[in-house]
């Protein structure tokens, strides 16, 4: 239906209140693009140009040097342990929080967010205080010959602590929005709790879960502060990629840190690409193209009528 006629002034474009003047639009977009170019794109490209500044050969040598390879290996090891554990934790935490009402729910939510609020260095220090030689648990562990701090186990713990919220934080809103009706439906259809989880709960939040895992992984591989505190900086043993970059940066070869940094930058680009793809997929899955209701049988229309005269 047409609203009452409105007298339009000269312009043929309908003016929408939320739309800026075309010139302002162009200006705003240009400013945003400029900022992105100067602060994001330029430094990114610079990492690669610096990495190759001493030639391909130098780059290849640096990236395949034993210490760098050890760092790559440790980085992967840490991620391979920390990410799955945090994924399981995130699933459990999100499920508990989204499905049940209980005392202390707000407290758990706050605790899950803590790693976001705390400086990673402090997270690292907390672990040292707990597991270090003088720590509460450290002495007990040391007596049994278990080295946590200044060794890979401590680095895994530090990484887990810092990346704890990622999966849970992605899943909680997804599960809350989903509600539990699909799960209840599965139960009435005879599915066990386990079947319900694998066939209904998990598939319905899979995009959110993958998204959380990817972000968690990116952070796990890129974490510096917390890992640095507990690593002990033993070259070739407790250096992850970020620690290795830092170490090389303080040495003489100007191209070396950038060569290693380029690996982390690549990881970032892959993460971004995956994230974009996931968002696109999720968007496509969620698109609601609700068809209009149709009568089950063919629709009948009135084609005429009148009163039948009494016999």
């Amino acid at each position: 239906m047409n609203p009452l006629p409105i007298h339009q002034s000269g312009s043929t474009r309908p003016h929408v209140a939320t739309q800026e003047h075309p010139l302002a639009q162009v200006l705003l977009i240009a400013v945003a693009m400029l900022f992105a170019a100067v602060f994001l794109l330029l430094p990114l490209l610079n990492v690669f140009s610096q990495a190759f500044s001493a030639g391909w050969r130098h780059y290849a040598r640096e990236v395949t040097s034993p210490d760098t390879v050890a760092a790559i290996r440790l980085t992967l090891l840490v991620a391979v342990i920390a990410v799955p554990l945090n994924t399981v934790f995130g699933l459990l935490a999100a499920w508990t929080i989204a499905r049940f009402e209980f005392r202390g729910k707000a407290l758990i939510l706050t605790l899950i967010d803590m790693p976001f609020a705390i400086s990673p260095v402090v997270s690292g220090l907390m672990l040292v205080l707990l597991f270090g030689t003088q720590g509460v648990l450290g002495g007990w562990l040391q007596e049994r010959g278990w080295k946590v701090v200044f060794a890979p186990p401590g680095m895994v713990l530090a990484t887990m602590l810092v990346t704890l919220p990622f999966v849970a934080r992605e899943l909680i809103p997804a599960m809350q929005a989903q509600g539990s009706e699909q799960e209840q439906a599965a139960l009435t259809l005879g599915a066990s709790g386990w079947q319900t989880f694998w066939r209904v709960t998990l598939p319905s939040v899979k995009w959110g879960l993958l998204y959380g895992v990817i972000l968690c992984n990116a952070r796990a591989m890129g974490e510096f502060g917390a890992v640095s505190v507990v690593s002990g900086h033993i070259t070739g043993e407790t250096d992850t990629l970020p620690l290795r970059v830092d170490k090389l940066y303080h040495e003489f070869d100007p191209a070396a840190p950038f060569a290693v940094a380029s690996l982390l930058t690549l990881l970032a680009l892959v993460t971004l690409a995956l994230k974009t793809w996931l968002e696109w997929r999720e968007d496509r899955d969620l698109k609601r193209t609700l068809a209009p209701d149709e009568p089950i049988a063919g629709e009948s229309r009135t084609i005429g009528g009148g009163e039948v005269p009494p016999a």
């Binding site: 439906a185 005879g190 599915a191 009568p295």
Partner: protein
């Protein structure tokens, strides 16, 4: 007996949601749980399914006490109000879900799914996802999914609430036919009295967690057990009157009320169809002016204003309305042929809505 509830109560954190409810549903029956929202009817449905545990009382399905049997083993089909289809599965996968988790053989599964697709007229939609379906199609998928594992009873929570009003009527008739064809016992929850009246064999009327009446639609309409039922089902004229020497009076209206003590205030109710109207202002007992007429399809409802200002609703057929030559603004006479002194004590009285 297909479903039997014995003295079932449910408390939610100390608050009573369902209060000593007992009723039975016979094999092959289509029964409606009717009541305003928040009256506990959905909780009753969920307790039968095993999605809620009763605080007290026993529930039987086909003679088996199911209180301690988990949801999965009750063999009950449940259709959720918003359907709760698995949105990452196609129509086919949705329908086959119950068969899959119950480990049906693949070949049997395919036959059963194909049967249901045909029965529920879902041909051509098997590979669509729920978000690609219309509301009515989703409802049929939800029913097909619930029927697939051959449940003992089918429970439906507000089955037509999420469907376009335009096709609701047709779906109601379709559900009745489906129920007749399959012979499956169905129990459905609704807040729409018209819906319950139209398709149910029997109606269980709820109010504030307890049962007001269990009867056939006709019985409920003609012989409401309580004032709540009388006012919830159909239209009723309700007015407060004072008794004097065995007669309840309000304005110029008088109703014999034998046995009611002098000075007692009672409520009197009468249906619009119990009012007879004449175009001759002197022919019948009371006089009034037609204020409004409402066109209800086959029937007409007229509002007659009395000199005292009371409004009385009367209902007559379209033919009678034309034959008598009635019109708005016309002076008429009328009499009340059926009325009821409402026993208001058992339920706290509600504010007068239909005052005349």
């Amino acid at each position: 007996m297909s479903i039997q509830l014995q003295n079932v109560s449910k408390l939610f954190g100390g608050v009573s949601a369902v209060h000593h409810v007992s009723f039975q549903v016979k094999e092959g029956e289509l029964v409606a749980l009717l009541g305003p929202s928040g009256c506990g009817k959905t909780t009753v449905l969920r307790m039968i399914a095993g999605l809620e545990q009763p605080t007290e009382g026993a529930i039987f399905v086909r003679g088996r006490r199911v209180n301690d049997i988990p949801v999965q083993k009750r063999n009950i089909g449940f259709v959720f109000q918003a359907y709760a289809l698995f949105r990452h599965m196609t129509v086919r996968e949705n329908i086959a879900f119950g068969l899959k988790v119950k480990k049906w053989r693949r070949a049997d599964r395919e036959v059963r799914v194909a049967d249901l697709v045909r029965l529920l007229k879902l041909e051509g939609l098997e590979h669509r996802y729920p978000h690609q379906l219309s509301g009515g199609q989703r409802q049929r998928v939800a029913i097909a999914r619930a029927l697939a594992p051959k449940p003992d009873v089918l429970l439906l929570d507000e089955p037509f609430a999420a469907v376009d009003a335009r096709i609701r009527q047709e779906l109601r008739e379709w559900l009745v036919h489906l129920q007749h064809d399959l012979g499956v016992t169905m129990l459905f929850v609704t807040h729409d009295q018209e819906e319950a009246m139209e398709i149910a064999d029997r109606i269980v009327i709820f109010s504030r967690g307890h049962i007001e009446q269990i009867a056939s639609p006709r019985e409920v309409y003609e012989n409401p057990a309580t004032e709540f039922v009388a006012r919830f089902i159909g239209v009723m004229n309700v007015l407060e009157a004072e008794a004097h020497q065995g007669v309840a009076r309000r304005g110029e209206l008088e109703f014999p009320a034998p046995g009611v003590p002098d000075g007692a205030r009672v409520r009197v109710g009468f249906r619009p169809y119990g009012v007879r109207v004449s175009p001759d202002p002197a022919a019948l007992r009371y006089r009034g002016v037609i204020q409004h007429t409402f066109f209800l399809g086959l029937m007409m409802r007229v509002e007659i204003e009395l000199i005292s200002g009371l409004l009385v609703r009367a209902r007559l057929t379209k033919e009678d309305y034309s034959r008598l030559g009635l019109a708005e603004g016309m002076e008429v006479s009328f009499e009340i042929r059926q009325y009821r002194i409402l026993a208001g004590e058992d339920a706290p009285l509600e504010p007068e809505m239909n005052v005349l």
